[in-house]
Each structure stands twice: as C-alpha cells, then as structure tokens.
Amino acid sequence: MNPWDLAMLPAPARLLARSAPERPWPRLVSRPAVPMPAPGVLRAATPIAVGTEWTVPLLERFDVALAAHARWLQLDTYPIQYEVITAAQMIDLCSTIGMPVHYPHWSFGKHLLGQEHTYKKGMSGLAYEIVINTSPSLVYLMETNTLPLQVLVMAHAAYGHNAFFKSNYLFRQFTQADGILDYLTFARNFILECEQQHGWREVERVLDCCHALAPYGVDRYKKPARLSASRERERLAERLRFAQHHYNPDVAYLYENAEVKPEASAEAFDPQENLLYFIEKRAPKLAPWQRELVRIVRKISQYFYPQRLTKVANEGAATFWHYTLLHELYDHGQVDDGFMLEWLSNHSDVVTQPSFDAEHYRGMNPYALGFSIYRDIRRICEHPTDEDREWFPRLAATDWVEAVHFAMSNFKDESLIEQYLSPKVMRDLRLFALTDDESDRSKYSVRAIHNEHGYAQVRQMLAAQYRPEVHTPPLAVTRFSADGDRALLLQHRVERGRLLDADAATEILGYVKELWHFDVVLEEVDASDNRLKIHRT
C-alpha cells in the first residue's frame, strides 16, 4: 500500500495509519468545491424533458431555459445559430479548424483523411463541439448525441465560449467576429481564381511556405486592422486598374532583370517580428498575387492568435459555465437526475487530469486546469478559508459572478494562472515543478511542490509554461539589404540556452528562401548578443 493514498482509504484504516510520519503537505480534502443543493430544494415537478431522445423543438425550449439562466448570470453573448450536423460533417469541420468556409489546401485533406480513419476504426471519438469566434456564433450539434449531450454542448459552446469570445480583451482587441466569414469567403474565391490563372502547383507552393511560417505572421502587440472582405476586394481591383494603366514592358523588363549592386550596405531598421508581413511588403521577387496569398495566410493566422493564447482560459470558462448552467437547470427542476448523471459522466471524462506517470498522460489538460481555476474562484468568493483570505484578500467573500466575469474578461492563460491559481487547486492537482538543467542531463530535479514554501514558485513556473515563446521560438528579421545581395538575416534570441532544432530550422529556412528568393540566414544569439549558432539554407 502506498502510504500517500491515505485519502482513499476507508475510515478505520485511515485512523490506524495516523501514526505514519507526517508529510510536509496537508492531507487532501476531497469535498466538492461547490456544495450540491440539498435534495428536493427548489425542485419543480416537471422537467423540460426526460429520456435521451432530442427533437428540434426540445432543443429550442432548452435554449430558452439556458438563455434565462445565462441572463441571470450576466453572460453576454453574440447571437447564436445552432446547426445540426452529421458525424461526417463534423469531421469536415474539424479538418478546416472549425471554419465553415475555407480555402482548399491539401493539409486540410490530410487532417480529414487521418481523422476519418481513426474515427472509423474506433480509435478516437469526435470532438463534442467546435466553435470559433464568429458572429453569429455557429454552434454545431452532432445528430448522434443524446439530449443531455446536446444541452451540454449548447451550454458549453453557445454560452460558455460565446461569452468568452465576446468579453475577453484579446478577442475584443484583436479579432472581429462579424467579419471573419466574409473574409474567408473572399480568401477562398481569390485563391481559386489564382489557381485558375497560375496553376495549382504554383499556388500550392506559396501556400505551403506560408503555412509553415504562419506562426510568424502575427503582430503580437500591435492591434491589427479590421478584417473586411469588401475593402480587400476594392484594394485588389484598384491595384489591377493601376497595373493595367501603367504597364510598361520596358520597365517590366528592367525590373525582371535588375542587376544586383553588391556594394550597397545593409539597411538598418528595428527588428521585425512579423515575418510574413515583412515578406509581403519587402520580398524582392514576389508577384503581386503571391503577396496577396501571403497576406491572406497572415491575416488568418492573426485571427487565430488569441485562440492560441487562451486555451486554458477559454476552455476553462466554457467548462465552468456549462457546469454552472446545467446545475442551474437542475436546481430549477428543469432536468431530472438521469439527465445529470449522463452529462456528468461526459463532463468528468473531459476534466480528468491523469498524473504525469500515467500511461495516458498527454500533458496538462487545459479543460481540467481551467475548470479548476474558475471553480475555485467561485469557491473562494462563496466559502473562503483562512488560507484564501491570505492569498486572495480582495476575492474572498465577494460576489462570485462579478469575480468570474472579471477573470474571464481580462486575462490570457499566462496571466490567469499567475493571478488565480490557488493553493487548493495546486494541492488538488498535486502540481510540482521540475527543472531540466543543461549541466546534468541524467536527471530532473524537483524545484518546488504543492506546499507552503512551493505554492508561489509552482504557480509562477506553470504560468511561464504558457508563454507562447515556450512553444514557438520567437524569430525576428534584423537585417537585410535591399540594394546589396538582398540576403535576409533572421534572429532567434536564445533563452536559457535552448537552441533551435537544426533540422526544423533548415527546413523552415528553405520555405523562407522560397518566398524571399535570395539567401536567408538564421542566427541564434544569447542575451548579450553573442552569436551561438548559424543556420543557412
């Protein structure tokens, strides 16, 4: 018997084991964070529906009920449109990142085929829901789901995610929910037209390059311009008019065969983080339509950027709200016990966090982490302990709806964890922090665990883990000479000695070169500008 499983033992055994040496962290308390209402309280006689069969009118009645509770919980949402779809259509959607329209590309086909295969073989289930930041918000209900599952998806996507998209500062500042579908239609038509004019091979070649560089097509701090399909169309038409009016074969010839002046010096400018933007504007030999392709991929990548920064916050909020909304339904007697048991079983599958040594451990589960954080905010507001008063003096015993909305609106993953990860959640998830040190590769060393001394450090390290730089090494364009050899110099600032994977770097450089047409060099420098490594194409 592992002595650390004490909490799981039946009572007498635990009493006997009391004499075991004290552990440096408190014993787990496995009490539900939000106390369930006493049975029979507020329970109306007739639920909206019983059983698992769903019909469209039933879904509408549930939506009305959910909307009423959502209003009471101050959830502000975009208009909702539910779409009932088949499993095959769900696979379709997943393959284009949830976009109902998208330009055609083989990589989407690859995801489609792969997903279809694993689904048909029963190796994986399908996503319950997929929702992107659009207005109206499109919520997909799969026909094979039971009624409780449909309602779960409605509460999760149509109210949880939808409210998150509408209120979170990143989405408010960086994306426009009402413009994206139009823009994608425009992009699709433009790309199809390019395929007609220039051949699919050419178009695919450029798109492949752009896709590989898509993570480097975002402005991380500057607010991007509004997406507008009509403005894009106008701009293109204007460019075409201009080109037709001013076409001069002699100039075109000179431009095509321009001589490279070797003596000119490199242009000095501030480092540019948005590589695709730089290529679109400055690449010496791209044709106008190729620049447009770069621009399209860049815009779409930018649109998805907030999504990448808010996995935990977004999924956590949506999960918290569906949990809350469905319990509201239950408390008002609108659903019965069977309904609750059914969705709770799915819910608990979703928010399971396997421990790191479990066979099915796949990293931190954003649903589990996010859900625990938001739920603990509510607990701290409603039933604060002394510990909470110490850690969250301004949160304890305040209005929880207010507090959750504040947390939902003003944070991304990194800051949400930094601000709200409570000692209780760290204990529940048994988080501990490790360091993999350069100096000794044979082992990891444990830095901090979920105890009094470690809370702050674990929290800070977990938050740092969600910085985008951890997954996507930052690149910047630091130098290029427009009139010289036109070589492009990219720079990677190395953090704590973490160099780039050489193969991947060479491959990516190949793509950059394909767009840039001249030499591209990638240097890795440390904090004091010492050059550590150079990658060339």
Binding site: T96, D357, F432, E438
Partner: protein, 434 residues
C-alpha cells in the same frame, strides 16, 4: 418557441444534415493529387497483398509520413535548461531528483507531445472510387488502336422533334389538332375582316345603288358560306414525330472466361486464373454500365457453368481447347450478337493440349472468333518446374503466338505477383502511331 416569455433574441436551429455531402471533398482530392505517386505505390502494394475478391473495395492505405509532414520551428530538446510543472505528484519533495526516462522522451515532455508530426506512416481510408481511380490510372481500354476504331458503337434512333412528313404510324394527333385549330383561326380572321369591310360599305350605300347592293350582298353570302365550310383537317396540318439515327457507344459488355480444368490445372494455376479474371471484371465494370460474365470450363468437352462450379468443382480428364472456343462462339452468336455489346474473352490454361488441337484452335480464332470479339486475352500458366525439357513453351502458346491481331494478346503468368504487371501490360495505354 413554446411557452417562454417572448424571446426577442436571435436564435435558430438549422438542420444541416441534408446538406450535400463532401464539403471537404476538394481538400481530400487535393491531398490525393499532391501525394499521388506515394499513394499509387501504396495501392499497388495493397493489391499484391489482398485477396482478389476484395480488390474492388476501398481500403486503408498507408504512405510514408515523411513527405507529408508540415514542419514547424521548435526547440531542440537536447539543449538548454527549462522548467516545467507536472500534475500528480505523490512522492517527491523539493531537492529530489528523478532519473530521466530513457530515450529523452517521457514524463518530462510536459507540453509538447501531440504537437509533433510523427515519422510513422500516415494511414487513411480511400473510398472505392478513389481506390479504383488510382488502381486503373493510366490503363486504357484494351483496344490497341483506339483512335482508329474508337468505341464500339451502334445506331440508335433518337427522337428529334417533329416533321411535316412521315409515316402515319408516327402521326402526332395532339400537334396535328393544334395546327388545325391554328389554321382555322387564322383563316377565319381574314374572312371576318373582309366581311366587316363589306358590311360597312353596304350600310353606307344610298338606296338608289341597287346594283352595287346586290353585288355586295352576293359577295357577303359567299364569304359566309366559305367561313362555314373551312375544312376541319387538311394535309398541311399533319405533324409527325421525327426520329434521327445517331451512333452511340455501347455501354454493355460481356466477358467470357475460358478455363482449362483438366487434371494438369492445379489449385495454384486456378487461383492465378481467378485473379486475372477478377481484375478484368473490375476493369470492365468501371468502363461499362453493365457487365455480364459467362464462365466456360473445359476438359475434352466444354460446358457453361456458374462461378462457383467454375472455380471450385474439381474435374479431371484430358484437354481439348477447341470445344471451348466453339462453345464461346455459340454463346456469343445466340445471346450476345447485338451491335451494342462489347465482347471480351479471357482464356486461362496451362497450354497443355495436343499439337493438332492447338493448331485448329489458332485457325478458328483467326477466322471465326476474333472478328466478333473486341479483345481476346490469353494467359498461359506454365507448371512451376523451373528447368528441364518441361519448361519449353506449351503447344497452345506456340500456335497462339502465330496469331497476329490487334485485338489479341498472350502473356505468361508464373506467380501471383505477375498478375498485376501482366494485366497492366496487356491493357496499358498504347502509343498510337499516326
């Protein structure tokens, strides 16, 4: 909406299940187009492996994952130091160390698994159509001079509107009546106009102009009579349904499978023959809307049997090929003589027959059978003795070799592996010389 308090919100449920499927078909097709070579190789491998009965089904194929990975920039896990947080601690306290799992992978890879592109094979399922498309890619109809002969066509008369003449049997009553009504309306209109004119003149006459009045009255009476006597139906009203002869490609095919089932044909040889027949069937099925299959087996005598008997019923005896050819000829003449049929014959044998029989067969083929069929393929399945005098070409092979016809092909098949290449070779797209 039901009893709710007037929801003014915008919300609706759209049922998309009936939408046309395959919104992503274009992406699917693009994927296949891009990796066509790899996928084709996989399809060919797959065919080698599986039973011929399943050849036509769509299937799972795997292609090497290397070519289709979408690279992304990432850190080299072997460099630098990093911190990470893991869930599920149950024994460690600060200062402990954990031995790194072998291979550098494992517990430590906190957040990266799942993101990476695996180097394993990429498996996916091709639909039946996609599968066959690749399977038959660059195979042509087994007509070696396609441009000259073209598809088998036959004359089909097709409706082509109406005409003014034709045989009575084709008369279109409805249209004829319509023409008649139109004609009568047109003529009556003219008469009415004339009448009105005359009557106006009559009314305006002075009482003294008797002569003119009489003449007018007479004319009016004549016109009235003419109006009353307009013929109901005239020659020019008749309309006939017209038909036009057009040449249409034949869309039906019949395939005759001839197999020697004498004692020398063992299971291995039968299996090879079966594979060949199945491939041919699949090929024809793709090309034509309806394919009929006739199985003819022979020893010294020939008989038409069903598929099961054909492949599985053991029979022994000597070998005479001629009766089988004659039976095939009879079947074609009696049942498949129409001009709209493509006749294909596939013969499989170990060629182990008497020399005079073989010679007669070759002659019969040349004179009788070949003119009637679109393609005749013979595969020779020699016994598996690799050496010795037994290895000489069989009699049938030697005689068939003398037959030179564009619709005739012979090949040797030794092994299961040979079937597909032989099939490909037989039906490969030929360079058409001008």
């Amino acid at each position: 909406m039901s009893d709710s308090p007037a929801p003014s919100r915008y919300m609706r449920v759209v049922d998309r299940r009936a939408d046309p499927p395959g919104r992503s078909a274009v992406n699917r097709e693009r994927f296949i187009r891009r990796f066509k070579d790899e996928i084709k190789r996989a399809v060919d491998d797959e065919i080698g492996k599986r039973g011929i009965a399943d050849v036509g089904k769509g299937s799972k194929v795997s292609i090497p994952g290397r070519g289709l990975k979408e690279p992304y920039l990432h850190h080299d896990p072997k460099t630098g130091s990093r911190d990470f947080v893991l869930p599920g601690n149950h024994e460690y306290i600060p200062g402990d160390t954990i031995a790194r799992p072998d291979g550098g992978e494992g517990g430590g890879q906190g957040n990266e698994p799942g993101e990476g592109e695996s180097r394993d094979d990429f498996g996916f399922v091709l639909s039946r159509d996609e599968f066959l498309q690749l399977f038959f890619d660059d195979l042509e109809l087994p007509n070696l001079e396609r441009t000259r002969i073209g598809d088998v066509t036959y004359i089909h008369t097709r409706r082509a509107g109406y005409s003014k003449d034709g045989v009575l049997a084709n008369l279109s009553p409805v249209l004829t009546m319509r023409m008649s009504i139109a004609r009568r309306i047109a003529l009556r209109g003219g008469i009415a106009r004339q009448l009105a004119e005359l009557e106006r003149e009559l009314a305006g006459l002075e009482p003294t102009e008797t002569e003119r009045r009489l003449a007018l009255e007479d004319e009016i009476a004549q016109l009235r009579a003419r109006r009353g006597q307009l013929p109901f139906l005239e020659e020019i009203d008749r309309r006939f349904r017209a038909r036009q002869p057009v040449a249409v490609p034949a869309t039906r095919a019949v395939m005759l499978c001839l197999m020697d089932v004498s004692g020398s044909m063992d299971e291995r040889k039968k299996d090879l023959a079966k594979r060949f027949f199945a491939l041919l069937y699949l090929f024809l099925e793709r090309k034509y809307s309806a394919v009929e299959v006739v199985f003819i087996r022979h020893t010294e005598t020939a008989q038409e049997v069903d598929e099961k008997t054909f492949f599985h019923d053991p029979q022994s005896g000597g070998t005479l090929v001629m009766p089988a050819l004659q039976l095939a000829q009879k079947v074609i003449e009696t049942r498949f003589a129409g001009p709209d049929l493509n006749v294909y014959v596939a013969q499989a044998s170990d060629g182990d027959c008497g020399e005079d029989d073989a010679q007669r067969c070759a002659g019969y083929l040349r004179s009788e059978l070949l003119p009637r069929v679109r393609y005749f393929a013979y595969i020779d399945i020699p016994s598996s003795h690799p050496s010795g005098w037994f290895n000489r070409p069989s009699d049938l092979w030697q005689c068939y070799e003398t037959v030179a016809d564009s619709g005739f092909a012979i090949r040797k098949v030794h092994d299961r592996r040979d079937i597909w290449p032989v099939f490909r070779e037989l039906f490969a797209r030929k360079e058409t010389s001008a």
